[in-house]
Every structure is written in structure tokens, then in C-alpha cells.
């Protein structure tokens, strides 16, 4: 029974078994395929003494998706050699068409792509006498993108020392193109036009030159590949979009059409002279509508020549005297003589672990991908190639299968130690010295800051001030306390002032502190509006004092870990940011805050608080977003409401924002403080073109990039994060910056940026229009007289 018949016979029992075992439907095709392959490899291995090999292969579980999977192969049988791949070459046009299932494609998924490769022989089967272990070979047949390949003896061609494995990896593609050039019967000195500047097109330029073409012209749909074409030996490059050259004036003796587009045939025929030959080398998938054979070929005596590789015989015949082996040997001799250099076209060496990311880009239609190779040397040796035995179970098949369940939604999260992500998140400065603080404002946040000033290793609380003497005295402990601001500002033992007053007092207190020469930690926000914030910044600059804004939650370990992920490129280009913040404030909040230490109605008044849930609470998360993505928002639209607050509250208790970031990412921010049962629930999702971060417990990320300990294409937990007192950490690093003469991490500019976002959001909500953040910034600057 042949393999296909066996597969067909096993399919139904397997389906039933998976139903009984409750295997999720999304996993079944993958699992079935894997188990069948594994089983068949084992059957063959058992007949050969049980020896097997394990490696990895690129695997397309479904259209549009790619991953790296376990590969199991039996030992090389009679007439076979086992090759450990060094490079396999991507054929971008064909693989894009296959993975996107373009019209005319009949690929069956799961699918294993691959065309051409080269590597080293690691095992020789019976009857193979001219190859030895260690020989470098080019694989002259369609081999998969895999770290190991079983190759028929006659299709593994030894390569000379003068040929790099990377160049040799193109052998099969070179044969494909060369047989096309040959079928065009190109004579020395003849004019050659290549229509299409993809990988095969540019190889056709190189091989056309080798065949003695007089001058090679490349015709393409854009100028993107002009340089590459000229470097490949083209004398002329024509961009059809520019339309500055009439193709019919080219008068080519031979035209090689290699675009993959049916429409290109007419261009190719026009480029040929009367009596010329047009070689159809590209897989022009699709129908040519309304073909007039008279106009296309007969009247001008054009010859259309189909040149698919499958028409090249294994054994030469009178009608087809060039066998595959003959073509391959010719190609290798051209490589040896360095007359063709396909590696010139390689722009990307793809780490196979990042196959998912690479194919995502390819599927998206990134036309700049001309030449790419999978570099199997990126893998560690154990993953790339190891011996196995028929009885060793393929343990990771089931586990890996879950990743292919489209309904999984990231619930299967790997928990692996990722030291580079989690280590040092709780590090505190170790520099010597102490920064002495006065605390101004001893309400709810003041009490929290007093605690943090005592917890930080390099700060000391030396004075407190509040109009309410009891509050100031309570927080002072052994330190000096007063009800007068001028008294603390006059003290020489105060290096810095921590301002924890109501928002509208940030401005006057801050300016007074700056004029007294004190460094300032301003509880967030910087001020109750942008104009006052700018005046405060100007005062600090004039007095040459350091200003920081207390967005201390930036020091939360998950936020810093998320920043590391973005910095390491594991998310890629940021595409979207989704932030949702839920609080459940009691009605008493507007009169006495969360702690009830002070009874004052400033939180309910817009002219004193500056805003509601966004400014009072969500500003922390806006700073976190800005910190993680490293970009500012440029445009906002918004809606807000006061829906569930006590009578008289004039600030919003719910707000929704749509925004655009500098890099083009689109974001949405939502915040409310009447969310029953959802006190302090923050969900932040950041999606990039290489991965996703979800800051919602459990903190996790998904990436298609390779990194230490990370399996691309899987969800990973952040793991165990160290506990951090964010307020103490923030103050410690501020003190360290001042003592070391460095600017603090969250400086005035950072505080101002968040203030500008919020100002723009409030204006957008009020006006119902989209507001540009830079415009807000300019208006505020003018208002503050600078």
C-alpha cells in the first residue's frame, strides 16, 4: 500500500479517536497530519533498524500561518543521503501565492514549503558510493525548508570549495531559470528582456548574461528593484509605472516573462521583435481574458514557450536533450566560475524560528522581499539535528498542537524562565548620599509619600508642611513640621520639595519652591492645565532646579518588563494600543478622596482638579503607555460624561478616547470610576507587527521573534515578577539622578507630554472634533507667554 492510500485509510479512525479524546477542532488537522507523518517515518525507520533523526521544519498549518515544527525522518535508505541544511532559499512569489492560496493554487494544508537548499551530508544510504559524510552538497530538487532533508542520491550534487553554501542553495532555482533561458534558444549577442524583477527574474538576468545575451533589459512594475537589477547585470531598467518607454520599441529577440501575473504576458509579447520568442517562466496564475491569438502571436510571428521545471526530464531524450542533472552541473560550474552570484540577491537571512513573522510579512505583500534564505545555522545543534530512535515518542506534537487552535486565544501560556525579562526589575540605586525632602501637602497622597520617603534608601523626610497642623505633625514624626510654606522653603537642610497638594496648588507651590532653589517632585499631574504646567516648567528652568512628575507606576515591574519587550523588538512596529481602566470610587471620594484624611471638595471642581477620572487616575496609565511604546499621541477624538457622580461634581467619571500615535498606531483609551465590582482593573494590550503584549493578569506576551528562552509563535507568561514599592523606587531613582547630576527619568518634559495629551483629549471631548496634540501644545505655550 502506498503512502497516500495508507493515509486515506487511517484518516477516519483518527478522526473518531480525536473526537473521543476531545481534541479541540482547531488542532485536529495539524495533529492528524503530524501523527501520520510521524507514524510513517517510524514504520520506515523500523524496517531499517529503528534509527531516526530529528530536526525542525517550516510548517504552514493553514493558509496565511507559518510556524516551526518538529521533523522526524528515518535514517537514509538505499540510494538516499541525509543532508543537514545550511540554507534553504525562499521563492517569494511562489510561496506568497501558495500561502495566500491565490487563484489557481491548489495547495493542501497543512503544507510544507521549500524549493532549494544546500548543506552537509550527515548520513549516506546503501548504494551511494560517490558521496561521503561531511561532503557539502547542493540539493537539486524541491526540498522543504527544514533543518534536515532526505535527498535522492542523484539529486545531491557535491559542490566545490569555491562555492559558498549560500550560493549553492540556489541550485534548484538556478536550474528552473536556466532551463527557461535554454528553451528561449538565446543566441550570443541577442537582445534579452526580462519582464519581472523578482528573484527568478534577476536570476534570469544573471543566467542570460552567461548565455551571451547582448544587453539585458529588465521591465518591472515599479522602480523598487532597479539597483538590484543593475547589480545583477541588467544594462537597462524600465519602470512601467513611469511609462516613459514604449515597451514595443525594445525589439527583444527573447523575452522571459517571470512576473506571476497574467497581465504581463501582453507586455512581454509587445517587448519581443517580430519573430521573437517569449518564454513563460513565471507561474502566471490566473486567466487571460479575451485573448486574440492573432494579435498576440500569429501576426507578429511570436513564439510562446512554456518553461515549467517539471518538463525537464530525468533522463535526456532527443526532444529534450538536457536532463535535470545536466542543467544542475552547468549551474554549479557557473557558480564555481562565479559567473552567477545568486547570493547577491539575498537581502534577508531569516532565523527559522521567526518563520511565522517572515511569512506574515510575505503574505502581506511586501514587494521589497526579493531574496531571502532560511539560515539553519541560527538554531542550536540539538534543535537542528539529533539522532533519535523509533521508540522515542514525539512528545511535543500534542503540546505544540495547541498553538494551532485558532480559538485558543492565548490561553495556553508557556511559563518558562526568562531572566532577561524579569531580572533587575526591582533594582534600586546604590550610589552614596541622601536627598533631603520637605513634604508639602499631608493629605492622602502626602501620607503615602511620607512612607515612601522613609522606605527609599537615599531619601530622608526632614520637614512637612500643611495648612492643617495636625496633618503636618502626624506625618513629620521626628522631623520639623509647619503650616507655612515659606518656612520649609527657607530651610537650608531641604534639598527637594515633594508637592502633594490639590492639583490647582501645584503651580503656585512649585513656582515658589523653584524660586527658593529647591528641586521638585510634583505629584501627578504636573498642573491642573497645560498653561500652568508650562509656567511651572519655565520657572524650574530659570531657577536651574530639577523637576520630576510623580508617575511612579512606571516603576511597576510589569510595565518595565513590557518596555523591555518593545525595546528588544519582540513586538515589532507598534500597530495598536488598547487601554481600559476601571475603578469603583465611592461617592465620598469627591469630598475626601480614598483615605478620608482631608475633607475638601477640590476633586469635584474642574477649575481645581483639572479633570476627573482621566486626569486624577488614568494619567498614570497614559504615562505607562507613552513609556512602553516610546511614542507620543498626535491626534485625539473623545467623548466624556458625568453619569454616576454625586450632585455638584463637575468632572467626568467616564471617558473614551480614540487616538493616533506618531508611528501611525491607532489607540483607544477608556476609563471609568463607576465600574461596579472592577476596582483598579487595568487592561492594556499593545499589538505590533511581530507580537502582542497583554497587561492583564496573567501578564503575557506573544511574539514571532526569536529570543533567549522564547518559542516564537507561542504565548509566554511574564513569569514571577519581583515585588516593587513603586513610590519608593520612583523617589530613590529621582534622588539618585539629582545626586549624580543626571536628569530624572520622568522629567518635566515627560510630565508635560502627558498633560498635553490630556488637554487635547478634554478639548476633543468638549468640541466633538479631532484635536491635534501639537496644536494644543502651541496654544498652551503662547498662553504661558513663552
Amino acid at each position: 500500500m502506498d503512502t497516500d492510500a495508507l493515509k486515506a485509510r487511517l484518516r477516519e479512525p483518527m478522526r473518531r479517536a480525536m473526537e473521543i479524546a476531545h481534541v479541540p477542532p482547531g488542532v485536529r488537522p495539524h495533529l492528524q497530519d503530524r501523527l501520520l507523518r510521524s507514524g510513517l517515518a517510524r514504520v520506515r525507520a523500523a524496517r531499517q533498524g529503528g534509527r531516526m533523526w530529528r530536526g525542525v521544519e517550516v510548517y504552514w498549518p493553514r493558509p496565511g500561518a507559518a510556524d516551526l515544527g518538529l521533523l522526524e525522518l528515518p535514517a537514509a535508505g538505499a540510494g538516499e543521503v541525509l543532508v543537514r541544511s545550511a540554507f534553504t532559499v525562499v521563492s517569494p512569489g511562489t510561496e506568497r501565492a501558495l500561502l495566500n492560496l491565490l487563484p489557481g493554487i491548489t495547495a493542501k494544508f497543512p503544507f510544507r514549503p521549500g524549493y532549494s537548499g544546500a548543506g552537509t551530508v550527515i548520513q549516506v544510504g546503501r548504494g551511494v558510493t560517490d558521496l561521503r559524510v561531511g561532503d557539502r552538497v547542493a540539493c537539486g530538487e524541491t526540498i522543504p525548508h527544514a533543518s534536515l532533508a532526505l535527498v535522492r542520491h542523484g539529486r545531491a550534487f557535491p559542490i566545490g570549495n569555491g562555492v559558498s553554501l549560500e550560493d549553492a542553495a540556489f541550485l534548484h532555482l538556478l536550474v528552473i531559470v536556466q532551463q527557461g533561458v535554454r528553451k528561449g534558444r538565446l543566441q550570443p549577442g541577442e537582445r534579452l528582456v526580462v519582464v519581472g524583477a523578482g528573484l527568478l527574474g534577476l536570476l534570469a538576468v544573471q543566467l542570460g548574461r552567461c548565455s551571451g545575451a547582448g544587453a539585458v533589459t529588465v521591465v518591472a512594475a515599479s522602480s523598487a528593484k532597479r539597483e538590484l537589477a543593475l547589480r545583477s547585470g541588467a544594462a537597462r531598467f524600465i519602470d512601467l509605472q513611469r511609462g516613459d518607454v514604449e515597451v514595443s520599441a525594445l525589439g527583444a529577440d527573447v523575452v522571459i516573462e517571470v512576473t506571476g501575473s497574467p497581465e504581463a504576458l501582453a507586455v512581454a509579447a509587445r517587448a519581443a521583435r517580430p519573430g521573437g520568442r517569449v518564454v513563460l517562466l513565471g507561474s502566471t496564475r490566473g486567466i487571460n481574458r479575451g485573448v486574440d491569438f492573432d494579435a498576440l502571436v500569429r501576426r507578429r510571428e511570436i513564439t510562446l514557450i512554456g518553461a515549467h521545471i517539471s518538463t525537464v526530464p530525468d533522463v535526456p531524450t532527443p526532444a529534450a536533450p538536457y536532463s535535470y542533472a545536466a542543467e544542475a552541473r552547468t549551474a554549479l560550474s557557473l557558480l564555481e566560475a562565479q559567473q552567477v552570484r545568486p547570493s547577491l540577491l539575498v537581502q534577508e537571512h531569516v532565523d527559522p524560528r521567526e518563520a511565522g513573522l517572515f511569512y506574515r510579512r510575505l503574505c502581506r505583500g511586501e514587494r521589497d522581499i526579493v531574496g531571502a534564505v532560511f539560515d539553519w545555522g541560527c538554531l542550536d545543534e540539538r534543535e537542528r539535528c539529533r539522532r533519535s530512535f523509533v521508540l522515542v515518542p514525539p512528545r511535543d506534537l500534542l503540546r505544540k498542537g495547541r498553538a494551532y487552535d485558532q480559538n485558543d486565544g492565548g490561553l495556553s501560556v508557556l511559563s518558562r524562565p526568562l531572566p532577561w525579562l524579569t531580572e533587575g526589575l526591582d533594582t534600586l540605586p546604590t550610589t552614596k548620599g541622601v536627598l533631603r525632602f520637605a513634604l508639602v501637602g499631608c493629605g492622602g497622597m502626602g501620607a503615602r509619600h511620607a512612607q515612601a520617603l522613609r522606605a527609599a534608601p537615599n531619601t530622608r523626610l526632614v520637614a512637612t508642611m500643611d495648612p492643617n497642623a495636625a496633618l503636618a505633625r502626624e506625618l513629620a514624626g521626628d522631623a520639623f513640621w509647619t503650616t507655612r510654606l515659606d518656612e520649609v522653603l527657607a530651610r537650608p537642610d531641604v534639598d527637594a520639595v515633594l508637592v502633594a497638594t490639590p492639583n490647582h496648588l501645584h503651580h503656585p507651590v512649585g513656582i515658589a519652591a523653584a524660586r527658593a532653589g529647591k528641586h521638585i517632585v510634583m505629584e501627578k499631574p504636573l498642573a491642573h492645565d497645560l498653561a500652568h504646567a508650562d509656567e511651572l516648567l519655565a520657572a524650574c528652568r530659570a531657577a536651574n532646579v530639577v523637576l520630576s512628575v510623580g508617575y511612579s507606576f512606571r516603576y511597576a515591574p510589569e510595565i518595565r518588563a513590557a518596555r523591555r519587550l518593545v525595546e528588544a523588538g519582540l513586538v515589532g512596529r507598534i500597530l495598536s494600543v488598547q487601554l481600559a481602566c476601571y475603578w469603583d470610587k465611592p461617592p465620598s471620594y469627591y469630598g475626601s478622596g480614598y483615605t478620608n484624611r482631608v475633607h475638601s471638595g477640590w476633586r469635584a471642581r474642574r477649575n481645581q482638579a483639572g479633570g476627573g477620572v482621566m486626569l486624577m487616575n488614568m494619567s498614570h496609565q497614559l504615562d505607562q503607555v507613552r513609556y512602553i511604546v516610546g511614542q507620543d499621541v498626535t491626534h485625539v477624538t473623545a467623548a466624556e460624561g458625568t453619569l454616576d457622580a454625586p450632585a455638584g461634581v463637575a468632572v467626568e467619571d467616564v471617558i473614551s478616547v480614540a487616538c493616533v500615535f506618531q508611528g501611525g498606531a491607532v489607540g483607544s483609551f477608556f476609563g471609568t470610576c463607576f465600574a461596579r465590582g472592577l476596582e483598579n482593573q487595568i487592561d492594556l494590550r499593545i499589538v505590533g507587527d511581530a507580537g502582542t503584549i497583554v497587561l492583564e493578569r496573567p501578564y503575557r506576551f506573544y511574539t514571532q521573534r526569536a529570543a533567549p528562552g522564547v518559542i516564537p509563535g507561542r504565548w509566554h507568561s511574564f513569569g514571577k515578577l519581583p515585588p516593587v514599592d513603586v513610590h519608593a523606587a520612583y523617589l530613590a531613582w529621582f534622588a539618585d539622578a539629582v545626586l549624580s547630576g543626571r536628569p530624572p527619568e520622568i522629567d518635566g518634559a515627560a510630565g508635560r507630554a502627558v498633560q498635553a495629551w490630556m488637554e487635547a483629549i478634554y478639548e476633543a471631548a468638549e468640541s466633538g472634533r479631532t484635536v491635534a496634540v501639537p496644536a494644543i501644545t502651541r496654544v498652551a505655550s503662547a498662553a504661558s507667554g513663552r
Binding site: T284, D292, V297, R299, H308, T311
Partner: protein, 142 residues
């Protein structure tokens, strides 16, 4: 068929077609068409060494592997399309007759590219073809 000077222009087109088709002596050819033009084409291809089978239309086409050379002398795009569909791998298809502006939808990938077909257009004869036709006619008369 009249073996007269009136045939020369038609025969010249046949000669040109046989020349462009690169006939290999002894190879099997199928010629689709009827009438004088098809007849002179048959003579020209036979003279070049092909073993020509004439069929009046696509219904009479033999199985694909039997001919490496297919000749259309009808100019009917549907016939041409059928030839593309049924041709053996790497076969050559010679288009001798004008389609008179009639069109057809073609999947060149599946027909021409994938099976390595060669589609050869044959236009108007040149003086050398006319001379060859005259010589051929003289031999036939003799």
C-alpha cells in the same frame, strides 16, 4: 487540389509554417482544418518530414500523446484553446490562420507554462518562402 500557380501564396504560408515549426523528420503532426489552405499546409509539413494526420475539427483530435506537433489551420480560437488543452507535454502548436478578431479566455499557466507547450505564430510568407513554395510545386508537378 489544383497544382497551379494560384496555390503558391497558400503553399508559401504552409512552407513558412513548417519552417517555423522546426519539424523533426518522422514526427507525428495533427493538422486541424479543411479546404485548400489545410491541404497545402499538409503538403508543406509532409514535405518537411512530418507524418501528418488531418482532422476537420476538434472532434477528431487523437489522444494527446500521439502528436508532438499540432497545427491549427482554422483560425477558430475555440479550436486553438482545445489544442492547448489536449496537447501532450512539450508539444508545439502552430497557429497558421487568422482568428479575425475573435477572442477567447486562456489559462496560460495551466496549459502552456505547466506543460511546457510552445505556441508558434505564423504570419505572412517572405520571398524565400514563396520561392520554396514554387520549387515544391514544381517537384509535385514533376
Amino acid at each position: 487540389m489544383k497544382a497551379s500557380a494560384e496555390c503558391v501564396p497558400l503553399l508559401a504560408r504552409g512552407v513558412r509554417a513548417a519552417s517555423r515549426a522546426r519539424v523533426v523528420p518522422g514526427e507525428n503532426a495533427v493538422l486541424v482544418g479543411t479546404g485548400e489552405f489545410a491541404e497545402v499546409a499538409r503538403i508543406a509539413f509532409a514535405e518537411a518530414g512530418a507524418v501528418v494526420t488531418m482532422v476537420p475539427g476538434i472532434d477528431g483530435l487523437p489522444a494527446p500523446a500521439e502528436a508532438s506537433l499540432l497545427i491549427d489551420a482554422t483560425g477558430d480560437p475555440e479550436v486553438i484553446l482545445t489544442l492547448l488543452e489536449r496537447a501532450a507535454k512539450t508539444a508545439r502548436i502552430v497557429l497558421m490562420e487568422t482568428t479575425r478578431g475573435r477572442t477567447v479566455d486562456v489559462d496560460f499557466y495551466r496549459t502552456v507554462h505547466l506543460r511546457g507547450l510552445e505556441v508558434i505564430g505564423v504570419g505572412e510568407p517572405e520571398p524565400t518562402d514563396v520561392a520554396a513554395a514554387e520549387a515544391l510545386l514544381a517537384r509535385i508537378r514533376a
